[in-house]
Subunit: 333 residues, 5 copies
């Protein structure tokens, strides 16, 4: 069960056919009851499902099964489609990108498709259905000429179209981090990578069952869905597959990026090791030479010679230069 | 075969229909035999199956197949569903979180669904069925109005609902360790990670076959299951899928966390290496310089100069500062 | 939606049967309308789909479904095949290797197969269909003797054949980098490896759905596809499987190469470590010896001896040689 | 083809029905021919199949197909089930744990199920069928009341039950090594881990096809298998699934253990690195200080001061202590 | 398309029935045309398909489809089976182990099965079909009594049997390298491992489609294949599965060996690190002590003492011994 926000319930009713359009905001849930048996298409949208009372009232009037009502109210459902004979019940996940928490959040949307009406339940006010409202108001496309099943299709399509926006956002995040990986990989990059991976797990969980839901809807033999609507559902199905493709591609890319991260970290380590080795390898022998002539033996003839000091310095320089050349040849420098 | 605890067998009988309710604790297994042919719904619950005698007696009276009895008594079964014609036989795994051993334990629950009775076998006293008992006693929901198949559904539902509690517990453990990973990864964290992974393997093993069991139950054409019960079984099926989803998500998260652990360990190593390299790289050349002027050559004119000592110190300081600046530029500091 | 280049639309019409051949470049889209109902096979090729007007006009005249027109214009479609009764609608991805960006790019090709005509839509001028044009003009093979379905097959075949060229190109890149891996692995190699992997993800995404498309086409029972054409479609299907095989093989090879890269990096690290260890292990003890005789104790009898200096040098040499021998035995040198 | 041991062939015949039981050891293969057409159930067990002559003679008398005979003699077969109309031919793998080589070995068991007889072929004397013999002799369970198909089931069941013993053995090995991993991971542990993994590959190869074999047997519509036997085959099938489950669980656990091993090795390395770094970091600067005052400059005023030596010692001590405190804070100690 | 060797074409014809056998080497392809309509079984074997002319001539005479001829000549086909009504067309891959390049090579073999004849096409002279020739000549087994379909089976069987030889060879290579891994892992081992892995990818690519081909052949309802031959095809199918099993097992083993290699490399690294750490840890503090008494302070009372030098040496020895003991306890030595 998701968290139930304390917002008010908002009920909007849109009733239309090709010729007429009525739109109103209901104060009481009872206001939408008369629309049940009119021949015109009616769309009842309920924002804020925390008011269980309202959902139960509408359930009783529209003869919804107790299990359906339970699923509408408990927001932890997987996307699914259930045929109750008189109506179809569809649960979807609507995603939105939370800028503050830098992550994808999900919200449950339930649709009930009856013969001439569609009831939609949302967790909170969202604007994802605004495009559908506009199309009804403006009489754009064929929506005013078609039945309730086409309206349900339009709503599902709006939800799925919204996924593409989310994917674009996530895609940008991925590209940003990919640049970071190449230019300057820091431990925080790994953290971000990990977060993106978790979001992919989350997206997958929302999107995979959606595919099945829409595939079942498309192939479903129900008097509630007209034959001409099937091709539109097929279209939404294609979109869902595109979304899944994108999610899987992102997953593959993220896996590849983890490999890149780990091996650039190991490359850096390598570089550090080389510097250490070179410094140590050059200076440790020289230090020995210096140590030798710091010994206090009485009989060390070199100590008395006139040119031994500059000679020793020269020898040291030569050793150093030879070593640098050796490392060059070994491609360590 | 699980370990058979030496507890006593406890037999409780609940017999009910819409109007009447009888509940009693049986001392002898024979007490429950008369309920077999009454038209009312009877639920016989047997806790503690180590007493093979009791199970065999009830098996003979209720005409259970020897293989079913064997499966009830041997607790290493996979969840499964078997149709023996006169009755359905269902084996489930009930999970509980063992606080002492910090892990998930499983217990076998077997259900026999006959025309008007349900027999449930548990390994030990559990309270997972208490909610069902309450609903029968309180006449809550539709349980008193429905048949034995609905009772069986209610029991299965209670078992599956219990899984969510386990998952919540495990989810908390995972979140706790995730925080630990980021703030302070120690070898013990890895051990805990490993334990969580093993629990996931265990959970998966219990949950995946459950899905098949309930899916078969839901699609099964048997006179023992009424049509109206199928939608409830479909609901349990959805819950099972949710459980599987959660387990798979946890598995994915744990894999990701292992990567995080390993790379933060490697990051730490990196940091240690850098410190070593920096110290060595700065001090080894300076040590050479000091060694040079510790040499005992007779003709080292610098030794006699007035300001060579402070000059050498200054040179050393300069070399050190330059190196620190170089490492800064290289982003090693 | 792909980027819509501002190129002009180019419309070419080829109308033929066994005896006659007419080829013309249309200025206005209306010029191709009369060919709709002629008994001869007509191929209308439209390059540059950014001019939505043209697509919509042709759609209206040829009675195309609005969703089909939408899919033609929006270039982010997955390969798919749709039967609209009067015509079949096929979306394919045409790949070409972009030498400048060193990567594979995709372009959407849509085909409409009617009873006596095929309409093809391309994003920009391409030469992949030139071979088909040549075959029509030169009356090579059976193309002039067959119907519109064979023409559609020929176009699909041209697209799939083009994939082999891309694969050859990518195969060369892979072989080149494989040699590099063995001779001289540098961080840039990893970057190239990563790019090749991303291209494989991209290729897979284009090729896998293609398989399904052509498989469906081959098995499709439609009056638009004659029986004799099915064996040709089966042949294209085999080619698609070969392409998929190659892509999967490349993926496997790339995974193996990442392992090779990582372990040759780790081998190099190992080599560096060994050098450091050997140098340090040989010189640090010698430095101690030198340090010992640099101590200023008054009573160090060795300091006064005549041959201690050469003796100490000899001892040092012996220690060094023994250590080198030890490392030889340990196979570190 | 397995190695063919030079052991003698041993032929035992058990002929029984509910009332009578005849058991004899045959010297010549011809002794078992008369039992072919008796109405009683006959079990002919042949140990040691290296004597191809015997197998071919029996094959001719019982009308076995040449391919079946070939499969009996060549011991590299996968488990499989073949219906030859007059008889069913089943190939199984019997496993036993070879204590000397510390690994699982397989042996081929072939069963021929005719209308009233079962012929079993084993590579060498085994005791896995002894339990079946005991049940026939002692008239335990229902075996004497049932037909040849039940006998075949009993033999298959004996083979599968034997798998659980193997799994228990392997499970113990895994647990032993798991303890070793935590307490003291040495390279030998890895070797053992690797051996266990190879055994899992081997077990999988034997067990997965078994599942298919028994599943086919269970669903097979053959007059040779009575309806009442199907539920027993279903039971063996469940056991096979349990075996597969266990093998997969072991595989998952072994993968997890490899990760544990690798990361505890890397943890150890880490610890070693830290010690090195700490020692070097503390002593290298101190050595520089000592080196400084070992320089032979004439004008080093500190050298002449009364308390410089103890002061320098104090400074060195302070530096050391501060560093240790720093490392403590960094959690390196 | 494979490389087309410039070898001559060689055509051999074997015509037989139970009573008669005719064998001849054809100079001209036309010599084999008369055998098309004889009732006896005719096997035409064509070695060297680079002579497209010959293939096309035979194709015209035997009414082969242009696509089949194309597939025979282009040697990059996947194994496949195609029913052209009058004849079946089968493409296989024949493998042979190239000792010089130390790898597995593939060659395409195409079979055409007509009512009374089989035509086989090979890329170059091979001896894999010699065993079939021997069986025909020697009248061994049932080959002379059966039709063309059995001949086709015998040829396919010869190809698949040849795979076992390849697998044995590869298996030996794997075992050899496994021993090397344990005794002395060098970078070349990794290279060999990588090569073996690539061969596995190659083998898989050849073997997996073979499985489908033979499975389709076995289940195919064609008048060209007699019922009695199906059981033989089933046998070849079992062999194919065995080959696939072996390939998959080899793959699993090679993956495990890569892990072993990487961790033994890391173990060696570990060992090297320990030696470095131990040397550095023991000698660096001692060097400091020596450095201390090399300082030139005027007031260092120890310098004047009689026994300080041997005392200091003793202290150093003690420190060294204590450290070695500490490392022993830590199990680093």
């Amino acid at each position: 069960m998701g968290d139930k926000k304390a917002e008010e319930v908002s009920i909007t009713i849109i009733d239309y056919d090709e010729a007429h359009l009525e739109e109103k905001e209901a104060k009481e849930i009872e206001e939408c009851f008369p629309f049940k048996d009119t021949p015109t298409v009616t769309w009842i949208n309920i924002d804020g499902i925390q008011n269980v009372d309202v959902v139960e009232k509408i359930g009783r009037h529209f003869n919804l099964h107790p299990l359906a009502i339970e699923d509408i109210v408990n927001t932890g459902q997987r996307p699914k489609m259930e045929d109750f004979g008189d109506y179809l019940f569809v649960v979807l996940k609507m995603l939105h990108y939370d800028e503050q928490e830098n992550g994808v959040k999900a919200e449950q949307v339930s649709l009930i498709l009856g013969p001439t009406w569609v009831i939609s339940f949302q967790e909170s006010w969202g604007d994802v259905f605004d495009s559908v409202r506009e199309r009804i108001r403006g009489d754009k496309g064929r929506i005013r000429k078609m039945g309730a099943d086409y309206l349900a299709y339009a709503l599902i399509d709006a939800v799925v179209d919204n996924y593409f926006m989310i994917l674009e956002k996530v895609g940008e995040d991925i590209e940003e981090i990919e640049d970071e990986l190449v230019t300057n990989p820091v431990p925080e990059t790994l953290q971000t990578l990990h977060n993106l991976k978790r979001q992919m797990i989350f997206l997958r969980k929302s999107v995979w069952p959606l595919r099945e839901v829409i595939s079942r809807l498309e192939r479903w033999e129900s008097p509630l869905i007209q034959k001409s609507t099937h091709i539109y559902l097929r279209d939404v199905y294609d979109h869902t597959i595109q979304v899944i493709d994108a999610v899987e591609t992102f997953r593959d890319m993220l896996s590849g990026m983890l490999d890149i991260y780990l091996s650039s970290v190991s490359n850096r380590m390598n570089e550090v090791m080389k510097v250490l080795t070179i410094i140590a390898t050059i200076f440790i022998p020289l230090t020995l030479v210096a140590g030798l002539y710091g010994m206090n033996f009485r009989y060390m003839p070199e100590l008395e010679w006139r040119w031994s000091y500059p000679l020793v310095l020269l020898v040291m320089l030569t050793i150093g230069v030879l070593m640098v050349m050796y490392f060059r040849k070994k491609r360590w420098l």
